[in-house]
Amino acid sequence: MRRLREWLPPQLARAATMVVVAALAAIVMVILRHGLSSFSWEMMVTPPASGFFLGGGGGILNAIVGSLLMAGGATVLAVLLGLPVALLLQRGLLAPRTAALCRLAFDILQGVPSIVYGAFGFTVLLVLGMRASLLAGTLTLALLELPLAVRAFDEALRGVPAALLDTARATGATRVQALLSVACRQALPGMAAGVILAFGRGIGDAAAVLFTAGFSVAVPLSPGAPAASLPVAVFFLINSHIPRVQERAYAAALVLLLIVLGLSVLTRLAARWLGRYRIP
């Protein structure tokens, strides 16, 4: 009896892991199967024609371009603003309690639901009397991605051995010089992972851009124009009652999934390539 009580739970635990992996595989396979049947390269490079949402011709170029522009711009902003903040949190620059409080603040911000960020953005738009646009969507996404970027950079930098930084200081470097020349270089794989993670968060999020970027069937050409995005396009398309249009939703979801999977692969590759600076 005791043998059973010892043997059984680890087997259940292993089964649990297998269930989780199976669920992941199921999701990927379902999206692949449904999306591939309606996927076409033409769809990727054509904007929607009139009547797209009623079964007419065209593709999802508007959403692809919109998503890439907004997530790309947001990630650039988030990284530019997030890196100095993460550097500031490192050992020796702020009082330990202040640094801990800041980390907590950014952790909390990271946990705020994306729809609240969307509401934030929308409120600002209301106050300023502006309309939903590419720029507004980009800024809201940047706000969403920023805490993630800060924490990711922070964790990457904290992983650098203290001895390395002390050695740099001992050779005469100032704190900032040591951080920038030594710590950043050592932490590059982790920071690259952070950048890619932030981009992935931005491109996959619908709730934050739903109100702030609006939607449009035109490819967004100016910052003030409303912009479609892939997640929002998936959402609109799948709510249609026309099967042909629903299938386009599957194709768009497939594109989104492939982008996210591609980003994961990119993270591994970047970590390996950038890790060539690592000392230990």
């Binding site: 992941l24 449904h34 946990g111 706000l143 992935g200």
Partner: protein, 298 residues
């Protein structure tokens, strides 16, 4: 380079970074404050208690009872946790304590991939697989009739989304338990699983609790996937197979009509504020506990 110049540049750079951080944090506070001020018009029409406890939701008549939405959020979130917590914790225990290093190295990144899948993709999966599953297989087993767009489906989708959070954080927490505890237990003759149960899990229990609170927060804030499968009907959930209407779904669905009805925009922003308060409190408590517990262990 003169030593004095180096010092000045150094101080300037640090001051700039400090100012930037302060500005960012102030912006966050200001935006929350903005939500409050834009919700005020609604709060001025009715007392807070009436808003939170009333079940009447009829914006065109000025009725804004938030109780069904709060109840819907809590229902779908707790259901998701019921599914995800046992599965996730068991999986975390396996990956942290029993799995070979190679397995761990292979599977943990895969679980991170699951975490990165966008919400709408989960929603599509829910519509394609889970809705028919609930409608045609599960509900008839229980003698219920449903369109499939109900609380149960929402709970299932949400559980899938919350699993990676529980597993990833759970593994991290379990691996932070000092190895000495395990070694001492084994040295005393305690077998592997009992060690895990009575030593490791007991040591990690407070942190695991915080992980669960974080999972709750993640689930409560999730918008798109849930919105796509849950039915979006503003009633109190009375069975697994009835439709519900969580707070995020309310906000996402109605923002377009916000401006056409008086105080509707205020109501929706109040809903966002409610969500911020619920999720924000949970995240704050959990993260603060985790930080303190980690400091205590180290």
């Amino acid at each position: 380079m003169l030593a004095a110049m180096r010092g000045r540049t150094e101080r300037a750079v640090l001051a700039a970074a400090g100012t930037l951080t302060a500005i960012i944090l102030l912006v966050a506070v200001a935006l929350s404050g903005l939500l409050v001020t834009r919700s005020l018009p609604l709060l001025q029409t009715q007392p807070l208690a009436a808003l939170l406890l009333s079940t009447e939701w009829s914006p065109s008549e000025g009725q804004f009872g938030f109780y069904p939405f709060v109840a819907g959020t809590l229902a779908v979130t707790m259901l998701a946790l019921v599914f995800a917590v046992p599965l996730g914790l068991l999986s975390a225990v396996h990956l942290a304590e029993f799995a070979a290093a190679r397995t761990r190295r292979l599977l943990l990144p895969l679980i991170d991939v699951l975490a990165g899948i966008p919400s709408v993709v989960f929603g599509v999966f829910g519509i394609v697989v889970l809705v028919p599953l609930v409608r045609d297989v599960i509900a008839p087993r229980f003698g219920a009739v449903t369109s499939g767009y109900c609380l149960l489906t929402g709970g299932l989708v949400l559980a899938l989304m919350v699993l990676p959070v529980i597993i990833a954080l759970g593994v991290e927490v379990l691996r932070s338990v000092p190895q000495e505890l395990r070694l001492a237990s084994r040295a005393l003759g305690v077998p592997a699983w009992t060690t895990v149960r009575r030593v490791v899990l007991r040591a990690a229990a407070p942190q695991l609790g915080a992980v669960l609170v974080l999972a709750f927060a993640r689930a409560a804030g999730e918008t798109m996937a849930v919105l796509m499968v849950v039915g979006n009907v503003a009633v109190l959930p009375d069975s697994l197979f009835s439709s519900v209407y969580p707070l995020p779904a309310l906000i996402a669905n109605n923002y377009g009509e916000m401006m056409s009805i008086p105080t509707y925009d205020s109501a929706l922003l109040f809903a966002a504020l409610l969500l911020l308060v619920i999720v924000g409190t949970a995240v704050t408590v959990a993260r603060w506990s985790l930080a303190r517990l980690r400091a205590g262990l180290a």
